[in-house]
Symmetry: none
């Protein structure tokens, strides 16, 4: 499973495996995408924290800065083992790129499936001073091109992070708990949902901040509730757009995770998810937007085939605008995928 | 620790002990009242399910119907052991009364403190048909008076359950997520809070319904957030009023737990908590009120002394009315306690 | 269930009971041996810490030093109650022997079964200086022989601990993650597996070290994965060989738990498990072997009958040697059991 590392004598790859339990899955027995995202992030946190502490110097903890867009290629079931393997593929002066592969394994039949591939970016924060970003020891590359390709990925994600930071400032509307009985089914208001969670010690790193994986798990959970309310069937995570973690969330905060549907195609739903944090006792700052992202869900039949999805009814101008934007993202992704398929066919 | 049972040849008492961990406590290291309530309820569920199945007949699961008012007499800390002992003290035709004592034990110093005493009522529901209440095998009493006293307690709680059922129907206002920055501190709106939780398999009994203890733990958690937002200090649960569980909550539901402050005395805060359930995929019914209760919290100094509490600012007529009702409950409880102290002094 | 204590006025026995939940069990509904081992260890930690602090002196926490071989006599199911009772049966100058009985109880039918009996050894470590072993207050024995028998057990386990300490030094080959597709089924490499876990606050005692029970639960989990990969059926823990805890594992460490099959008989599998700790932030030391043990699993049919197990294919000289050693342990255990049966028949 651990492909011939892009990286030569650098840090060893790491593998995390876990049997999927009932609490990891929905009522139909399909493991939540969020469970997988949480495992991916834990593997990334371990390997990058280990690497950043591999040379004498100030001890540090690697904090998740960004996850690239990732697709869930096949559903995982209770009782299967999720094998998550991570390796470091690039380091800049202050950040680490980790590539993670997830394989589900039915340990009874031996059947294995690639579940997803993800790329994460971590930043080392000093254990003594959480606001101090430390330097990352460089890794060795087998081929010169690997470093150049990595630098290109680094520059691209850096640009995108700046953009979302600005965009994040734009849009903030609280998702208020709707009285669903008076709403029309299939409207945006009908399915919009929130979760509210008090951050406990087990949610946090050694620095006392929430693990990025814990946040992503809750985001996937609320997106799943929105999707299930909309189509009333068994739904699973199909993909997650790039997520940027601009703001840390401190232990003892209350976080509100809100989701609303933005777009539906024939067989998929796009849900926008916001995470707002409120550090309620230590009031040095008020409520703030910590993360936001787009999740795509599909509805599955008992045999695992994608079902048609009821079309989203947009009512306000805002909703219509967001629907069009969602359609843009949908078509862009579709186009990219076709290019990839053609390239693969030509090889 | 298991005092000489009030009950003779009846079902044996049960004891549950557990070391308190960081996840069981708040940031100051005080164990949440809700952690204790959850342990109490699990002990009660075990002993009453065991008893109700002790004679040949339809198998059943005992479901929590009511918890009597309980006081938290002293705070418990991380590393201490909570010893929970339960015994059945009365049976009616369709219900079981369980009395539970909790002692915290510092296993380093050996110091033990009574944490609280609680009385719970369970009802046996058929495993085959969850809407069918079965008959409870009678227990044997050592002294005739024990049965009469039990019957008196049974009649009293029955009356009270009917009353809250009607009251519950009255008041339903959703607690909407406030923008705290624009609110005056110490108002009702400023501290009101909600948690929203998706019910998973581990929250549920064999019948697929949420354990009463899981619900109470979440209720205590939201009440604690309200109290901490109001007074910005270390707060602990002082008491919980009687809670009636009229409505079951099914696996896969989304539950919203909302709390708002109703009353403050010099050194205590009363918080009203509502639990609303929404069975979001299986939509045979809409959102409904499952439970409600009053929690009282106090603010503690580092030395464990009760601190003064900022007075609650009431703005609307509704808030003023609820404040007066809270004051009534407060004075009534205070009067009852003085009668008990006088009776104790005369003995 | 609580047998008349072997010990007279000594420390009171303790009982821990818990309803088994879906997450405690595998897909077939059988509770993991690891869940039971964790409960056993928690009961032992409570009773021995309590005892070691029962006389004025330096406060201490009892740390698990060793668990004797234990057999799982009957599987436990979701919804059943696991009743764990522990009592102290011997004290040496620096250690405490705790005997623990586990009974599963079907609270619907009332059926009770002995699940297992375990013997654990704890050592009191000073709360102020974790490297200082304190003295244990002696217990009182009802009969003189009890003390002598205890001393004999103490001497035996002491010898065995020294031996494994040396053996541990010998064999360390990391279990590398295999590419199972290229491996022959039923080989050692095909089923070998690893788990990697980041140690959080709730995994640890007051001293900031991992609870022995947490480690054993993870060991059982990886052994279960190895067993399921080998025989592709429903498997359960049958027994665990004596485990010695030579090295503490600190909060914030990353632990790798690796398992490989060493031996198969007609109806059982032996799996060797290693736990390696890496205190990756606080780098005063590198990666080290913390624990190792042998687990035996059996494969169960739907009716709970032991099924035949495919024979392990050994490829290297090392694997053949380990197979022979496993066979030795298997035959020795079998012989011991027959002696016990004969003795029981003669009484």
């Amino acid at each position: 499973m651990s492909e011939p590392g892009a990286v030569g004598p650098g840090p060893a790859a790491i593998q995390v495996s876990r049997i999927m339990r009932p609490d990891d899955a929905n009522v139909a027995g399909n493991v939540h995408g969020g469970t997988i995202l949480k495992m991916i992030e834990e593997a990334g946190a371990i390997i990058s924290t280990r690497h950043c502490n591999s040379q004498a110097g100030e001890p540090c903890v690697a904090a998740l800065a960004r996850v690239e867009r990732t697709d869930f290629l096949s559903p995982v079931c209770i009782g299967e083992v999720a094998n998550v393997s991570a390796e470091i593929t690039y380091t800049s002066r202050h950040s680490v790129e980790v590539q993670v592969n997830v394989m589900s394994e039915n340990i009874l039949t031996g059947a294995k499936k690639v579940t997803n591939k993800a790329t994460l970016w971590y930043v080392p924060l000093s254990l003594k001073n959480v606001n101090k970003v430390l330097e990352v020891p460089p890794i060795q590359y087998v081929r010169k091109e690997q470093e150049e390709e990595g630098r290109k990925r680094y520059e691209e994600q850096k640009l995108d992070r700046l953009e979302t930071k600005q965009r994040n400032g734009d849009v903030i509307f609280p998702v208020i708990n709707p009285d669903r009985q008076t709403k029309e089914p299939q409207t945006v208001g009908y399915s919009q949902s929130s979760l509210i969670h008090l951050v406990g010690p087990s949610d946090c790193t050694l620095l006392g901040f929430v693990h990025g994986g814990v946040t992503m798990k809750l985001m996937d959970e609320v997106a799943g509730i929105v999707a299930a309310r909309h189509c009333k069937t068994n739904i699973v995570t199909a993909s997650v757009d790039a997520i940027n973690f601009h703001e840390k969330i401190q232990k003892g905060s209350v976080i509100t995770i809100s989701g609303r549907m933005t777009f539906t195609s024939n067989k998929s739903m796009e849900i926008e998810v916001f995470v707002d944090a409120e550090p309620f006792v230590d009031e040095s700052r008020g409520r703030y937007r910590a993360v936001s992202a787009f999740f795509t869900f599909v509805s599955l039949s008992r045999e695992g085939k994608a079902l048609p999805v009821p079309q989203l009814l947009t009512e306000t101008e805002e909703e219509k605008r967001r629907f069009e934007e969602g359609k843009g993202r949908y078509l862009q992704t579709k186009a990219k995928r076709q290019v990839q398929l053609q390239q693969a066919a030509q090889q």
